[in-house]
Amino acid sequence: MAARCVLGSIWTSLSGVKSMASSSNMSVFQSITNYPQLSVFGIIQSRGIRQVVEKKEGKTTIIEGLTQDTLAGPQPPNPTAQCPIYQWNLQNKYNYTDVLLLSQFIRSDGGMLPRRVTGLCAQEHRKIAICVQMAHRAGLLPDHKPPLPEGHVPKKPKPQLNRYLTRWSIDSVKPIYRAGLKWCKNRISVGHPALRNNVQYGKKILYLKH
């Protein structure tokens, strides 16, 4: 009891161990190296991960969370820019198929991370959100689905249809009953106008209306 109070006071004095508090309460006298659950992709340069180290000095046990040294990854070619996309000169060069890029800005359940955390500028954040939406609808991020409540039974089996470059959400779109004549046709939109300025490496132009 007394030991726990001492440990409690030491804990609050150390900075940044709040994340360990909930998980480390159970096994106090064991050295733990806790890593928060990482998503699918590998080791990230996150300064939130700390290594828990236990030291015993007589009757007092000090459990400390030491910050890990961040791995020195490749440096961006344009470090003076504000937005990470501009730092790596990727503006106008990414699409919904670049899943490795998009997966860095999403949570494990598929939602976007806030702009104040990622550091993206407003336009690029919007473009990345649009590409992530299109990638989800194309089925390119199968492991980033939101968790369904337990015991959830789908009423009707949905038809598994392949799609890509879907701008609108599937349930929100209504069929075009009267398409019109060639000169005044009610066109179907493909892709998104926010990605209009993307670099086209072939001779074909980007058609946004089919």
Binding site: P76, L100, V117, T118, D143, N162, R163, L165
Partner: protein, 179 residues
């Protein structure tokens, strides 16, 4: 080729070949243009509309075609039974669930020339919803055509080395907890 006999050369130019196209994750319009070109015989230098130089085309996996945009919900296929009040309109999803071959078939039909040889060309088009083809067609196939659209890779299809090789663009702030 100059080393062939005249009869062999004649056979090679005028024989009717069988082409195979895999329509998995492909837009049906692009599949249909490839089929229409080969059914008419326009890929051959000896083409003439009256000469019946078209080839056979086999399309497999027509159930797994991919539409761009929201065409599954927005594109309508219309027909009329000739009776009053017989105008029927069906979305691409509904048509595909009823008959998985219909979308590709209608696309090719609309791309062929509007003459009497269109029906014979459609008879030379063979559609299969899945990839199990009958024996006699498998024996006839000569060439598989490359797919028009490059299929993008899913995130779980990338190997661990590729994911590690991709640089991380941003570092999170110190007090941020990744959920």
């Amino acid at each position: 080729m100059s080393s062939f006999t005249k009869s062999a050369q004649q056979w090679a130019t005028f024989a009717r070949s069988w082409y195979l196209i895999d329509a998995r994750m492909q837009p049906p319009g692009k599949i249909a243009t490839m089929c229409a070109i080969r059914l008419q015989g326009k890929h051959k230098p000896i083409y003439h509309a009256l000469s019946d130089v078209g080839d056979h085309v086999v399309v497999m996996n027509s159930r797994h075609i991919a539409f761009s945009g929201n065409k599954w919900e927005q594109k309508m296929y219309s027909s009329h039974t000739q009776y009053p009040g017989g105008f029927k309109q069906v979305t691409a999803t509904q048509l595909h669930s009823k008959d998985p071959k219909a979308i590709v078939k209608l696309a090719v039909y609309g791309m062929l020339p509007r003459n009497l040889s269109r029906r014979t060309m459609m008879q030379r088009l063979h559609l299969f919803p899945e990839d199990d083809l009958p024996e006699d067609i498998l024996l006839n196939l000569t060439e598989e055509l490359p797919q028009p659209r490059e299929i993008p890779r899913r995130l779980n299809e990338y190997s661990q080395e590729e994911r590690e090789a991709f640089p991380t663009l941003w570092t999170p702030p110190e007090d941020y907890r990744r959920k």
